[in-house]
C-alpha cells in the first residue's frame, strides 16, 4: 500500500519534470519559429500584391493531375483569386531550415508533454483531467497533437506554428504556476466512465476549436490586407512582410470553417454526453448550471456562425467575428466559469 503510494508520488514527480522539460523544448521551438519568420522576411516574393494588381503571373500550384485528363479548377464566383503565401520561411533556404527545426522541436515537445500527461494519469490511476491543472496540460497536448496531425496529413498549416507554441507556453505557464494541484484521487461525483467520454471530447473540441480560432483571426488580418491592396492602398511594411506570407484570406477562411464544422458535431455530442452524465449524477439531465449554460451558449454561438456562412450578407468577415465570439464563449466556459462562478461542476483546487 505504502509502496504503491510512493510509486505514485514518484510518477507525479516524473510528470512534473516532464511538463517542465516540454516547456523548455517548446521555448526552443518558439525561438526557432521566430528565426523562421525573421529569415523569411528577407524574401521578396510579394505574390499577393502581384496577383491583386494584375501584374505578373502568380506562382500557384498546377492543376490536379491524377493521370488521364487534366482537371482545371476555378474558384467560385465572388472570391478573390489570390494564391497562398509561401509560409513563414518566405521560401528562403535558411527560413525553411529554421522552420523545419521548429517543427522538429514541436514534435519533441509534444512527445515529452504527452509522456508528462501519461505519467500524471498513471500516478493518479485515472483519467488525467479532474482539475484545471490536468485539464490545461491535456488541452495544450491535444492542441499541439492536432496541429501535428494536420501537418502529417499534408495540410498547409505550418503558418500556425508560432501562434500555437506561444499560446501553449502561456497555457503551461499558467497551469504550472497558478493552477497546480498535487495529484490525487477523484471526488465520488467524478467516478464515472462518463468522465472519460465527456471530458476527453470536451478537451478535443476546445483544442481543435482553438486552431480554428487562430485561423479565423489571421483570416481577418489577411482579408484587410488583401482588401487594402485591392483598393490600391499600400499596407505597412510589417503587414507586407508578415501577412503576405500567410495563406490567402479565402484559404484561411475555408480552413477555419472546415475545422469548426468538423468539431461542431463532436461538441454537440460532448454536451449531450454531459447531460446524460448529469442525469446519472445529479438526478436531472439539464439544470442550467453555469457550466451547462455556457456550453449551451458556446454551442448556439457556433450554430450562429454556421448559419451565418449560409446566409448572404453574413459570409466572410461577419461570420468570422461570430466564430471568434463563439471561441471566446468556449474560453470563458473553461476559465471564467471555473474561476468566477460557482456551480455544481467542482474542479478541485482551481
Amino acid at each position: 500500500m505504502n509502496l504503491a503510494a510512493a510509486t505514485n508520488e514518484n510518477l507525479a514527480h516524473t510528470s512534473n519534470v516532464l511538463i517542465y522539460s516540454s516547456m523548455a523544448v517548446y521555448t526552443l521551438a518558439f525561438f526557432a519559429y521566430i528565426a523562421e519568420w525573421v529569415f523569411g522576411s528577407r524574401s521578396k516574393v510579394g505574390r499577393t500584391a502581384a496577383a491583386l494588381s494584375g501584374e505578373g503571373t502568380a506562382a500557384a500550384a498546377g492543376p490536379v493531375v491524377l493521370g488521364g485528363p487534366t482537371i482545371v479548377t476555378r474558384s467560385a464566383a465572388g472570391t478573390r483569386d489570390v494564391p497562398d503565401g509561401p509560409g513563414a520561411s518566405g521560401g528562403t533556404y535558411r527560413g525553411d531550415m529554421w522552420g523545419r527545426i521548429a517543427i522538429s522541436l514541436t514534435v519533441v515537445g509534444f512527445l515529452v508533454e504527452a509522456c508528462g500527461v501519461i505519467a500524471r494519469a498513471m500516478s493518479v490511476e485515472r483519467a488525467p483531467w479532474a482539475n484545471m491543472y490536468e485539464f490545461s496540460i491535456t488541452f495544450s497536448t491535444v492542441a499541439v497533437g492536432a496541429f501535428l496531425v494536420l501537418l502529417a496529413l499534408g495540410k498547409n498549416v505550418r503558418w500556425m506554428g508560432l501562434a500555437l507554441v506561444t499560446t501553449v507556453l502561456l497555457d503551461l505557464g499558467v497551469a504550472t504556476t497558478t493552477l497546480y494541484t498535487d495529484s490525487d484521487q477523484l471526488v465520488p461525483a467524478l467516478h464515472s466512465y462518463w468522465l472519460w467520454i465527456h471530458v476527453s471530447t470536451a478537451i478535443i473540441c476546445g483544442a481543435v476549436f482553438y486552431l480554428g480560432a487562430v485561423g479565423t483571426l489571421l483570416y481577418l488580418f489577411r482579408d484587410s490586407y488583401e482588401n487594402k491592396i485591392a483598393q490600391g492602398g499600400t499596407p505597412g511594411k510589417f503587414a507586407r512582410s508578415v501577412l503576405d506570407r500567410l495563406p490567402s484570406a479565402a484559404s484561411l477562411d475555408k480552413f477555419s470553417y472546415r475545422i469548426n464544422a468538423a468539431v461542431f458535431p463532436l461538441w454537440t455530442f460532448t454536451i449531450i454526453a454531459g447531460a446524460i452524465w448529469a442525469g446519472d449524477a445529479w438526478g436531472r439531465y439539464w439544470g442550467w448550471d453555469p457550466k451547462e449554460t455556457w456550453s449551451f451558449i458556446t454551442w448556439v454561438a457556433y450554430a450562429c456562425y454556421l448559419h451565418a456562412r449560409a446566409t448572404a450578407g453574413w459570409k466572410g468577415r461577419k461570420a468570422a467575428y461570430l466564430a471568434l465570439i463563439a471561441f471566446g464563449c468556449w474560453l470563458f466556459n473553461y476559465y471564467g466559469v471555473n474561476i468566477f462562478i460557482t456551480g455544481k461542476h467542482s474542479y478541485a483546487g482551481v
Binding site: V65, I71, H191, R284, Y285, V300, C304
Partner: protein, 587 residues
C-alpha cells in the same frame, strides 16, 4: 475604411453570384433547400414596407420570421439571453443563494425581479426568444422538406451551356460515339451512386442528397428535443427524503420531506416501491493536501417493487442511481445522526432515537435539535417538553482546543454538545416547524449550579444530568443518514432519441457534400467526339476536383482520347485562367 472594403467586397461577391446564377441557370439552382435570401436592399427600395393590407403584412412578417437572417438574429439573442442566468443566482437551481443575493443587494433586487432575472430560463422574454426561434424553425423546415421531396422525385437539372465556367472542368477528344460516352458515363456514375440521366447532349448526375436529409433531420430533431424537454418539465416529479441507517421509505406522498412536480403531474402516478437504507459507507482521503476529500459514498439498500414485491439488494452511489420502473433514486448528501436516550427524573426512558443533524462544513460539523414532545414529566409530575440544541463534530480536536469545529469528516472522535431547555416547543401552534431548529420563544434554559445556561460536551457513552432531578440525556452512539432524491422524468427517452438523431443529422449535413456532375459528348465537325466533364458543389471543396478527376480517369479508360488529337483541344480556352485557384493548390 475596412468597413467600406467589406461592403465593396460584398457587393462584388453579390454581383459575381448573380452573374454565376445567370450563367448556370437552372443547373446551379436548388443545390440546397435553404430559403432564398431576401436582399436587404431590395426591401429598402420600397422603403422596407410592403404596400399591402393585413394579409400582406402577415405574409411579410412570416417571410421575415422564416428567413435565415432572422433565424440568425434569434440564435444570437438566445445565446445572449442565456448569459444573465449564469451570473445571477437562479431560483430553480439554488433558492438559498437567491435569498442571500436578495438580502445583500436591496437596490437591484426589485429591478431584477421585474426583469425575471432570478428565473431567466422560464422568463417571458427568454421563452419568447426560443418560441419565436422554433416557430421560425418549423416555418423553415416544412417548405424545405416539401422542396426536398420534390427534388428527390425530380431529376438532376441539365447541363449549363458553358461547362468550362464551372469550378472543376476537363475535356478530351475521343473516338467513341457520343452515345457510347453517354452510356459509359451513365453506368460509371450510377455505379458510384450518382442519380443520373441523359438530357440533351449531356449526362446530368447528382449525389449527396443525404446532406440535405441530414440537415432536415437535425432541425427536426431539435424540435423533438425541445418538445421532450417541455414534456419532461410538465410531467416530472421530484422529491427528497432523509433516511437514517436502518430506516425505510415507501413511495407515497406523505413519506416525502419535500415534493415538487410539474403542472401536469398526477400524484397517483407515484410508482409503488419501497426501500430500506441498510448501511451508508463513506470514506475520506486521510493524508496529503486533499485530506478530508470524500472518496466513496455508498448507500446499501434493500428495495422491493410494488406493495409486497421480492426484496433485492443494491448499492446506490453518486453516479449510479437505483432505478425502479422509471423512477430513479439518487443519493444526494449524507451526515450523522447521534443516537440519544432521554430519561425523566424517575429514570424512565422516554425517548430513544437517532436524531439527524445537518452538516455545516466540509468536515461535517453538524447542528440540529432534539425535541422531546411527549411523555416527559418534570420532578413535580407536571407535563413539560424538552428541547436540546445539538452541535456535533465527528472528529473533535480535543479538550482545550477551542471551538466545536470538526477536524475530519469521518467519525474518529465524535463529540456531541448539547444545550438543554424546557417549556413549550411550540409544535402545537399549527405553524410548520423546522425539525432542525428550536423555536426558543417559549423555552427556558436549564441552569447549572453557577446559574449559567446548562451545556455539556458528551463523548460516546457520556450522560448529561439535568439539574434538580429533571432527568438525563445519554449519547449512545452515531448512525449515518443519507438523503435521497426520488425523481421521475418522463420523455427522457425521447430527448435522447432526438439528441442522437441530431448528431447523426449534423454529421450528414456537415460532412457530406452535395454535388453535380455533367458529362457532355458532342460529335465535332471533324467527326471526333468531344467529351466535356464538369463538377459543381454547393460550397467549394477540394474534394470536388479530386472526384471529378477520378471520374474522368475512369471514363477516359472507356472512351480513350484519340492519339492524333489536336493539342489545343485540351486547352480549355482563353476564358479559363491557366492558373488553378487556391482550391487546386490545396492538398
Amino acid at each position: 475604411m475596412s468597413k467600406l472594403n467589406s461592403t465593396d467586397g460584398r457587393a462584388a461577391a453579390r454581383a459575381a453570384e448573380e452573374e454565376r446564377d445567370g450563367e448556370l441557370g437552372a443547373a446551379g439552382a436548388r443545390l440546397s433547400t435553404a430559403p432564398r435570401e431576401e436582399r436587404p436592399d431590395a426591401a429598402t427600395e420600397t422603403g422596407g414596407v410592403p404596400a399591402m393590407g393585413v394579409v400582406g403584412w402577415v405574409r411579410w412578417f412570416w417571410r421575415q420570421l422564416t428567413s435565415m437572417r432572422v433565424a440568425l438574429i434569434l440564435l444570437f439573442l438566445l445565446s445572449l439571453g442565456a448569459i444573465p442566468g449564469s451570473l445571477i443566482p437562479q431560483t430553480g437551481a439554488d433558492e438559498l443563494k437567491v435569498q442571500t443575493f436578495k438580502a445583500a443587494h436591496t437596490t437591484v433586487t426589485p429591478i431584477y425581479e421585474k426583469l425575471q432575472l432570478f428565473d431567466v430560463y422560464s422568463s417571458v422574454w427568454f421563452s419568447a426568444i426560443y418560441i419565436l426561434l422554433f416557430v421560425s424553425l418549423i416555418g423553415c423546415i416544412v417548405p424545405r422538406t416539401l422542396q426536398f421531396v420534390g427534388q428527390l422525385r425530380g431529376r438532376p437539372p441539365g447541363a449549363p451551356k458553358r461547362l468550362d465556367r464551372l469550378p472543376a472542368y476537363t475535356t478530351w477528344r475521343t473516338g467513341a460515339t457520343p452515345e457510347e460516352v453517354h452510356g459509359a458515363a451513365l453506368s460509371l456514375l450510377r455505379r458510384r451512386r450518382f442519380r443520373s440521366h441523359v438530357t440533351g447532349s449531356a449526362v446530368a448526375a447528382e449525389k449527396g442528397y443525404l446532406r440535405e436529409a441530414g440537415n432536415l433531420i437535425f432541425h427536426v430533431a431539435l424540435i423533438v428535443m425541445l418538445v421532450a424537454f417541455a414534456a419532461g418539465q410538465l410531467f416530472k416529479s421530484e422529491g427528497g427524503k432523509l433516511i437514517v441507517e436502518g430506516d425505510g421509505f415507501s413511495n407515497t406522498l406523505p413519506q416525502y420531506d419535500d415534493f415538487r412536480s410539474g403542472s401536469l403531474y398526477d400524484t397517483d402516478e407515484l410508482e409503488p416501491f419501497s426501500f430500506t437504507l441498510d448501511k451508508f459507507v463513506s470514506t475520506y482521503e486521510r493524508t496529503g493536501p486533499q485530506r478530508g476529500t470524500a472518496r466513496t459514498f455508498e448507500a446499501h439498500v434493500t428495495y422491493a417493487r410494488g406493495a409486497d414485491g421480492e426484496e433485492k439488494k443494491d448499492v446506490i452511489t453518486v453516479n449510479d442511481p437505483l432505478e425502479v420502473d422509471g423512477t430513479k433514486v439518487y443519493v444526494i448528501s449524507h451526515g450523522y445522526a447521534p443516537v440519544v436516550t432521554v430519561k425523566d427524573g424517575s429514570g424512565k426512558q422516554i425517548f430513544k432515537g437517532a436524531v439527524p443533524l445537518l452538516p455545516r462544513d466540509a468536515n461535517i460539523t453538524s447542528t440540529g435539535a432534539i425535541k422531546v414532545m411527549d411523555g416527559y414529566r418534570d420532578k413535580d409530575g407536571e407535563r413539560d417538553q424538552l428541547g436540546f440544541q445539538a452541535f456535533f463534530v465527528p472528529t473533535f480536536a480535543g479538550a482545550g482546543n477551542g471551538t466545536m469545529l470538526s477536524q475530519f469528516p469521518a467519525p474518529d472522535n465524535p463529540v456531541l454538545a448539547l444545550n438543554a431547555l424546557h417549556g413549550s416547543l411550540g409544535v402545537d401552534s399549527g405553524l410548520p416547524q423546522n425539525v432542525y431548529q428550536l423555536d426558543t420563544t417559549k423555552l427556558k434554559p436549564f441552569k447549572d449550579a453557577d446559574g449559567n445556561d446548562l451545556k455539556q460536551r458528551l463523548a460516546v457513552g457520556d450522560t448529561m444530568n439535568l439539574p434538580d432531578g429533571a432527568g438525563s440525556v445519554t449519547f449512545e452512539g452515531v448512525e449515518e443518514w443519507a438523503s435521497f432524491q426520488i425523481s421521475k422524468q418522463p420523455a427522457s427517452g425521447w430527448a435522447l432519441t432526438g439528441a442522437v438523431a441530431a448528431i447523426a443529422g449534423l454529421a450528414g449535413s456537415l460532412f457530406i457534400q452535395r454535388r453535380r456532375v455533367w458529362v457532355r459528348a458532342v460529335r465535332g465537325t471533324d467527326g471526333v467526339t468531344v467529351v466535356e466533364m464538369a463538377g459543381l458543389g454547393r460550397s467549394e471543396s477540394a474534394k470536388l476536383p479530386e472526384e471529378l478527376s477520378a471520374l474522368a480517369t475512369a471514363l477516359y479508360d472507356r472512351a480513350p482520347g484519340v492519339l492524333d488529337h489536336d493539342p489545343t483541344a485540351t486547352d480549355p480556352g482563353p476564358d479559363v485562367p491557366a492558373a488553378a485557384s487556391a482550391e487546386g493548390a490545396e492538398k
